[in-house]
């Protein structure tokens, strides 16, 4: 799998405080890679270093296999990003903003600008000044300017922050469409777990400036014991069966529901065992969520 973005021991220190330290990221082509962390964890600092807004104190960055520092112009022409909120020249129209920002990468034709505006649903507002746009429209315009340069990698720093639910949904769908239909690699940071669960293929967790985990979402969630809620009858018989299993740990027991922690890959085995012992299994579903995982790797102190 080709690595589009790689960082090696990336770090940034402000005064005596390390905002990010020892960040080793690896984003593959075609990924929707989510960079997860609570507010102040170092996500934006890392993204700003990747986009050359901040100078790293330590480490190196590789984009498309080339050192960013030595090949800034050639690699950044293949990347586009939105850091925090999308801010534009408010006194210019949406069209003119895109034309100006796009022209900094390559020669832009009028049709290309209009096409980018159409893709984000802003074609009807092409000639309106950006000062009349809502926050959501500015975010979509931000994505339009990213598309205009035909990037291979789009880096988005908390792209749904401040948006209403519909705006968040629009942006999420747009991100998924870009990755699925156009093969663009997406690197996005967020502190919204639900957002990451819905769009991410791979993810990394950062906390207090340090990397805590990295991998595919499915792998990370499957790597450790998962809690299940099992609705069974009779419950006493089910408890007796489970108490004899080394890979199952009963956490709690209700009137008809048992919460049990299972080692990875044993859910169907438990189901078979219960049925074989004449126990009726009405439902068995994992209660392990990304939130559990996140709280565990950040030792439950994260404020998200």
């Amino acid at each position: 799998m080709e690595a589009v973005l790689k960082t090696f021991g990336l770090g940034k220190r402000f005064g005596m405080r390390w905002a990010a330290r020892g960040i080793d990221l690896e984003v593959h082509r075609g990924d929707i890679f989510c960079f997860l962390g609570p507010n102040g964890a170092g996500k934006s600092t890392t993204i700003r270093m990747i986009l050359t807004l901040l100078k790293p104190t330590a480490g190196t960055i590789q984009l498309f296999g080339k050192d960013l520092h030595k090949n800034r112009c050639s690699v950044l022409s293949r990347v586009c990003g939105i850091v925090e909120k999308s801010d534009f020249y408010l006194f210019l129209s949406a069209y003119k903003n895109l034309e100006i920002l796009g022209s900094m990468t390559r020669r832009i034709k009028r049709d290309e600008v209009m096409e980018a505006l159409e893709r984000v649903g802003l074609i009807a507002r092409a000639w309106d000044k950006v000062r009349t746009f809502s926050h959501g429209m500015k975010q979509r315009l931000g994505i339009a300017q990213a598309l205009l340069t035909r990037p291979e990698l789009i880096i988005l720093d908390e792209p749904t922050t401040g948006l209403d639910p519909q705006g968040m949904k629009d942006v999420r769908e747009l991100i998924q469409r870009l990755a699925r239909d156009e093969g663009i690699t997406i690197f996005l940071s967020s502190h919204l777990l639900s957002e990451i669960e819905q769009v991410a293929t791979r993810m990394a967790v950062i906390h207090r400036g340090e990397m805590k985990a990295q991998g595919s979402v499915a792998e990370l969630l499957a790597s450790e014991a998962i809690d299940y809620a099992i609705q069974v009858s009779p419950i006493e018989a089910a408890l007796r069966v489970m108490q004899g299993i080394p890979w199952a740990q009963v956490l709690s027991c209700g009137e008809s529901m048992i919460e049990v922690r299972l080692e990875p890959g044993h859910a169907s085995e438990l189901n078979k065992l219960l049925i074989a012992n004449g126990i009726e299994v009405a439902s068995l579903y994992p209660r392990r969520t990304l939130e559990d995982f996140f709280l565990r790797v950040t030792k439950g102190v994260a404020e998200i």
């Binding site: 700003r48 986009l51 050359t52 807004l53 901040l54 100078k55 800034r72 112009c73 050639s74 950044l76 022409s77 990347v79 586009c80 990003g81 939105i82 850091v83 925090e84 909120k85 999308s86 801010d87 534009f88 020249y89 408010l90 006194f91 210019l92 003119k96 100006i100 920002l101 022209s103 900094m104 990468t105 300017q145």
Partner: protein
């Protein structure tokens, strides 16, 4: 060139840019109207000392005289108008948040800075040229042409420049004025690279100009030694073109010192901006 074109487009798309042109037009218009109404009185007070010894005849209060008269206030109001735009050139992008889009593009920070600096110089030149054209275009129909007779401020001397020589000298004087004003633009530009909004650079630049004007006029040996190196000492180099004979060497030296200021200020601005972390 593309970056310069884009920067110029952005700068000249903002109404704020035209405040300076409007203010200048108002200053020139008001001055010329007042001069038209009370020219005799003004000339009388200016030439009081000479009227006992000389008979001055002809169209003294002509367009050239008015232009030179208004130019004398150049180092007061034009620097402020220049800082309005030059001081906002880089810091304005931070205020608006557009810096985050701008600096993640392939062009290097230095190239972006070069384009912005060129735009600041272009605006400065445009402002002085607008001022010159307005003075002459309004002055000629209102006051007509003629020889230029000027009283050197603080000196008991009168300078006489024949009408035929004036357009050429005016051209050189305005070119020199542009050059001297570029130092103010460079200073505002430097402050702009250090700030996150334009208020600091505007106030900072004006504070530096005022301080150096004061230091240059303090009767202290320390400042007397330093005065030849102050940019404010050389900002009025354009006046050299309105002497009886042009002192090229002095003008050249002043131009060189101003040029060194420009180069130094831009160099510092480049170092500051290339190393700057964008946290906004």
């Amino acid at each position: 060139m593309t970056l310069f074109r884009l920067e110029a487009y952005k700068t000249f798309s903002r109404w704020r840019t035209y405040i300076s042109f409007g203010v200048l037009a108002l200053i020139v218009l008001m001055t010329e109207i007042v001069m038209r109404v009370s020219a005799r009185e003004i000339i009388g007070s200016m030439m009081k000392a000479f009227q006992r010894d000389f008979i001055i005849a002809g169209n003294i209060v002509n367009a050239w005289f008015i232009t030179a008269f208004i130019m004398n206030s150049l180092h007061f109001h034009i620097p402020f108008l220049i800082t309005l735009v030059a001081g906002d050139m880089v810091s304005g992008e931070a205020t608006a948040g557009t810096v985050r889009f701008l600096l993640i593009r392939p062009p290097s920070r230095q190239r972006i800075l070069n384009a912005k600096y060129l735009t600041a110089l272009f605006y400065t030149a445009g402002l002085v040229i607008f001022f010159a054209v307005l003075c002459v275009v309004l002055g000629l129909p209102l006051f007509g042409s003629g020889d230029l007779i000027m009283h050197r401020l603080g000196q008991f001397s009168v300078v006489f420049i024949p009408e035929a020589e004036i357009p050429f000298r005016m051209l050189l004087a305005f070119a020199a004025a542009i050059w001297s004003m570029t130092v103010v633009a460079s200073l505002a530009f430097l402050f702009s690279t250090m700030a996150e909004n334009s208020i600091g650079p505007i106030i900072g630049t004006m504070a530096v100009v005022i301080c150096f004007l004061i230091f240059g006029n303090l009767p202290l040996a320390f400042f007397r030694h330093l005065k030849p190196f102050f940019f404010t000492t050389h900002m009025l180099l354009w006046q050299g073109f309105f002497d009886s004979s042009i002192r090229w060497l002095e003008i050249g030296q002043s131009a060189l010192i101003l040029g060194m200021h420009n180069a130094g200020l831009f160099l510092i601005a480049s170092i500051v901006y290339r190393r700057k972390d964008i946290k906004s």
